[in-house]
Subunit: 220 residues, 2 copies
């Protein structure tokens, strides 16, 4: 159990770090912890729709600069640059992938597989209407990736590492660049979000947030 002040300090320390000190690399050990925070994150039904692509290749980072306007200063300077991909149709209740996942990853017995698939079908078809469009299904998968994203940035902050989430890109052309580089199979995956990690070079700007009274409601 950790000291509450230290945990709060990490949330104050974290900010959208736009540019990093390119001379400072995150140690393999530290980045391993950040990746574990992503990998061990929870996801709906435990189906882990994500894939974490760590882009260290300079040529690929250079290409991404053409379409990722939100990372103009972080692509060249980040110690580690991450793209989180998510599965598309694989996440449907009736896919071979989900069947495989329940059996080979979650190790569910046969009757649990059938019960869970049926529950998942109703969840997707009726409860959240996720099969309304391919976009609705993919956006739902991406929501799970944002849990991992938050956990990775917070874990970084807890060990003194800066980060920035990046949504600032033209999605179609950025996915094409990743596909051309062989890291995105567009039939199966889409780009959920990106993030840069490293050590700040500039001072942290003041944090602005709505007051607690404007965002928290108690129903007692």
């Amino acid at each position: 159990m950790l000291n509450k002040q230290e945990v709060l300090a990490a949330f104050e320390f974290r900010h959208a770090c736009k540019q990093f000190d390119s001379a400072k690399a995150i140690s393999a050990d530290d980045f391993q912890l950040i990746l574990e925070a992503g990998r061990l994150s929870p996801s709906s039904f435990g189906f882990e729709p994500w894939r974490f692509v760590v882009i260290q290749n300079t040529a690929l980072r250079e290409k991404l600069k053409q379409t990722v306007w939100g990372a103009q200063n972080s692509l060249p300077t980040a110690s580690h640059y991450l793209a989180i991909l998510c599965r598309k149709d694989d996440m449907r209740f009736d896919s071979a992938y989900i069947d495989h996942f329940m059996r080979e990853v979650q190790h569910l017995p046969e009757d649990s597989v059938e019960r869970k698939r049926e529950r998942y079908r109703i969840f997707q078809e009726r409860d959240l209407k996720l099969l309304e469009s391919p976009r609705a299904l993919f956006d739902w998968a991406c929501k799970q990736a944002y849990i991992a994203l938050g956990n990775m940035m917070t874990t970084a902050a807890l060990i003194g590492i800066d980060s920035c989430a990046i949504e600032g890109y033209d999605l179609a052309t950025t996915e094409q660049i990743l596909a051309d580089a062989g890291v995105l199979d567009r039939d199966k995956f889409g780009l959920a979000v990106m993030a840069a990690f490293g050590y700040r070079i500039n001072p942290q700007p003041p944090k602005t947030r709505q007051a607690a009274k404007d965002v928290i409601v108690w129903v007692e």
Copy 2:
């Protein structure tokens, strides 16, 4: 800076806790930290689309049991039960809310307001095509809420508190219950996700996850 083993231990400790010890309440101080983790979470453009509703009212929890199948055992036993709402049309680049937010929360000078609004317009209209449908815009706002969700569950785990994210509900009827209770203005907000917090009563089941080699790709 925190000990890496302690941080990793929190990710191992966290699991989808379905039922809590109803005799154990989270202290006001501890839950305050969990709420701060949500409030201080990052969001796209810093626009904080969320609202955190803490549902302690027994009658409302009882009503929610009718539609939230994913919280049958946590609604009656959780120390704190959370619904995260997100804004809908308010998140459009041309809304009065975003104008207010840039001026009154982010304290941007006039020329920055105009530049940011234009950047945000292109981001919504062209880059991510968020204005394709009301659902696409709302789902994008909800993605930000999942960052806060992840941070709140991780913060809980860091201080020894259990949690469970909850998406298992019929969305339309659950929103209606929240609207009838006066905590959801359906014109402005939708339900993003729920979460329960408390102390476990049952042992933690074994965690299943895909192996690192199956979810992490390095491009070097």
